[in-house]
């Protein structure tokens, strides 16, 4: 309901869902009405276990759906401009994020980071990711989704997604495996899984879908198959030491790439996950920390400024290098700057892994919200286009 309320003001649903979580969590209900909060959301017994389980399932499914939105052919077709946008849009935020976090670690809050290198790698990754659904929606709003510039942004964001999750999975692996050889092994396995799933796995899924279409009920059976693939991918990667989310994400790409997957089927899988599990997940974010208590203006400002400048500069320079005009390049930079749900998922997983503290978690969530909300107006201003619903 809160999401729907925010949507009326053209604010992304996810912001409303986060806000609902903040109201119901320790920030408001827990602080001012602790008895009611304890009655509904007990912190003892099976409730926290159930909530954690639900969060894990939600993240796996959200990443599977995010993977389904990645279209490898768009990446291949957009050629060098998209690749340059994506590569610089990754390298610059990642590099600067890493260096600043490594040399100025205290700027990021009062947490006691056990491994500065791993922490800095995470900051680099957090600065580098983009949120494809928010970007796609913004481009649609402005009516530039199908234009050259729209497709470049989409392709670059898709590529960023793949590399971003490879990086993050490796970092999560590094938390458990401290020796260098194991880190390399984790990275190697991550890349190997991605290649295997996107080639052999993708072909197998594509070949088996017509059979499933004939023999399974629709949409129930098909939904089971798609989520089965997601959980199998997640379980497999978890078993070889890579985080489950990566398995689900890559499985989503392989599944979404099938020529036998129809729009209606995609929609059903998407709606099932985004209407039921996404709200639960984003509300649960508000339960994790006290947002007011952990609001540190310095950390929020640094994360926000660093994220915005690095991403706009990186993706913008990449687009410029790819041959776009100054204004178009800046627009690409702002388009790629939206972080949305992906950044929030990344932050939550890092918090769970004790890689970041609560102050930094709050700062990253705020950064994700701000960058998502500002993408539309900035793109509209730079490209001088009116949003879809305002078109004359």
């Amino acid at each position: 309901m809160m999401g729907e309320f925010f949507r009326q003001f053209k604010i992304p649903l996810v912001v409303g869902e986060l806000f609902a979580g903040i109201l119901l969590g320790p920030t408001f209900l827990g602080k001012y009405f602790p008895e009611i909060s304890a009655f509904f959301f007990s912190k003892e017994g099976n409730v926290p276990i159930a909530i954690n389980g639900l969060t894990s399932l939600s993240v796996i499914m959200l990443l599977f759906v995010a993977g389904m939105e990645v279209d490898l052919s768009i990446i291949r077709k957009q050629g060098s401009t998209a690749l340059k946008t994506s590569v610089l849009g990754l390298i610059l935020p990642f590099g600067l994020g890493y260096l600043i976090a490594f040399y100025f670690t205290p700027l990021f809050g009062n947490s006691n980071y056990s491994d500065r290198n791993v922490f800095s790698l995470f900051i680099g990754t957090a600065m580098a990711v983009s949120a494809l659904p928010i970007i796609a929606r913004t481009l649609m709003d402005l009516g530039i989704f199908k234009t050259r510039i729209g497709m470049i942004i989409i392709a670059a964001a898709m590529f960023d997604d793949i590399i971003g999750w490879i990086l993050f999975s490796t970092i999560i692996g590094m938390i458990n495996e401290q020796s260098e050889s194991n880190t390399l092994l984790t990275f190697g396995l991550t890349v190997l899984y991605a290649i295997g799933m996107l080639t052999i796995g993708r072909i197998l899924i594509n070949k088996s879908l017509p059979w499933a279409k004939r023999n399974f009920s629709w949409p129930g059976g098909f939904l089971s198959i798609s989520l089965g693939i997601a959980f199998l991918g997640a379980a497999f990667t978890e078993s070889i030491g890579i985080h489950a989310i990566f398995g689900a994400f890559i499985a989503g790409i392989a599944f979404g790439d099938s020529v036998h997957l129809q729009e209606k089927t995609r929609e059903i899988v998407n709606q099932f996950v985004t209407s039921i599990f996404a709200p639960l997940f984003f509300i649960s974010i508000g339960f994790k920390v006290d947002f007011l208590l952990n609001f540190n203006l310095q950390v929020v400002s640094i994360v926000l400024v660093l994220a915005i400048i690095c991403k706009i500069a990186g993706a913008g320079l990449g687009a410029l290098w790819g041959g776009l005009s100054n204004r178009e390049s800046l627009a690409v930079g702002f388009g790629m700057n939206a972080r949305g749900a992906m950044e929030i998922i990344l932050a939550l997983l890092a918090l769970q892994a004790k890689l970041i503290g609560e102050e930094l978690f709050v700062a990253i969530v705020i950064m994700a919200v701000v960058t998502s909300v500002m993408a539309g107006p900035m793109l509209s201003w730079l490209l001088k286009v009116k949003p879809f619903n305002q078109a004359v």
Binding site: D71, K77, G79, P133, T199, V259, E263, R266, S275
Partner: protein
């Protein structure tokens, strides 16, 4: 913008001394007759008296040794040499025979015809079943995607259909479910999502209608159809199901390589398993 007059004034036939050689030259004669084109017969390999005489004999038999037709005999790497020759001779259409499917090794390396189709800078016709008694094309399936090249591709397809007195031309618009899914954001109400989807499809329909209005289709039976599915795969599948004899598509926007075969898109779906003969229309510089 419109394709005026004859699209194929210079046609090159890639000649290989295979069992299909005779059939390829029979097809060449038909093309020559229909388009009144200057013909070039390109063979890459060492000249041997036996092969030279055999080619001469075939050209004479199919009445292709007259006028300004030429035989070009070169040595070198086949794909690069043929591409260089097509540019040097300003060829409009390159014709080659092709098997329906590639073997696994050929998939990695690419057979000569397919390699040419991925790299050549002129239009290319891949004939899957060349015949010594060619019948031309009776049902053409044409790409109608919203793309700057489509207008020229449709004009060329209509010209071919008119020349060959084809019965039907099916123009297929492909709706990519991946892109449509991105449009259907969870942020939108059901009616808003549907409205946007309809708006996009309507714009595409109007563009196609405008192209067809400006194209002289004569007495041709032109069918337009929208099919949901992966671009390239859908149209290829449609051509197979409808037993079409020629699939006409836009040329790729960039040179294709092994990665495009591993992660196929558009034309690669057709090249992986040719449903029928394939014409890849490459716009002339002045046309786009």
């Amino acid at each position: 913008m419109r394709n005026e007059g004859n699209s194929f004034a210079k046609i090159a036939i890639a000649v290989a001394f295979s069992p299909r050689c005779e059939a390829m030259l029979a097809e060449a004669r038909l093309l020559h007759q229909r388009f009144g084109a200057q013909m070039f017969f390109i063979h890459i390999g060492k000249k041997s008296l036996q092969e030279e005489q055999y080619l001469k004999h075939l050209l004479h038999r199919f009445e292709l040794d007259k006028g300004n037709n030429q035989v070009v005999w070169e040595e070198g790497e086949p794909v690069e040499t043929i591409i260089a020759l097509t540019q040097q001779l300003d060829i409009d259409l390159l014709v080659a025979g092709a098997l329906e499917k590639e073997s696994l090794i050929k998939f990695v390396l690419g057979d000569i015809s397919r390699q040419l189709s991925r790299k050549v800078k002129c239009s290319m016709l891949l004939l899957t079943e060349p015949s010594t008694h060619p019948k031309g094309f009776s049902h053409l399936v044409v790409e109608g995607t919203d793309h700057p090249k489509t207008e020229n591709t449709i004009a060329v397809a209509v010209e071919i259909a008119n020349q060959y007195l084809a019965g039907t031309v099916s123009i297929i618009q492909e709706s990519d479910p991946g892109k449509l899914a991105l449009i259907r954001s969870e942020e939108l109400k059901e009616n808003e999502a549907e409205e946007r989807r309809e708006q996009i499809l309507k714009e595409e329909d109007e563009k196609l209608e405008e192209i067809l209005r400006c194209t002289d289709c004569g007495n041709l039976k032109v069918i337009t159809e929208r099919i949901e599915g992966k671009p390239g795969y859908v149209i290829s599948n449609y051509a197979r199901l409808k037993n079409a004899d020629l699939l006409v598509v836009n040329s790729p926007d960039k040179q294709l390589n092994l990665l495009d075969r591993v992660f196929p898109h558009d034309i690669e779906y057709a090249l992986a398993d040719l449903p029928c003969s394939l014409l890849i229309v490459h716009p002339k510089e002045k046309a786009i």
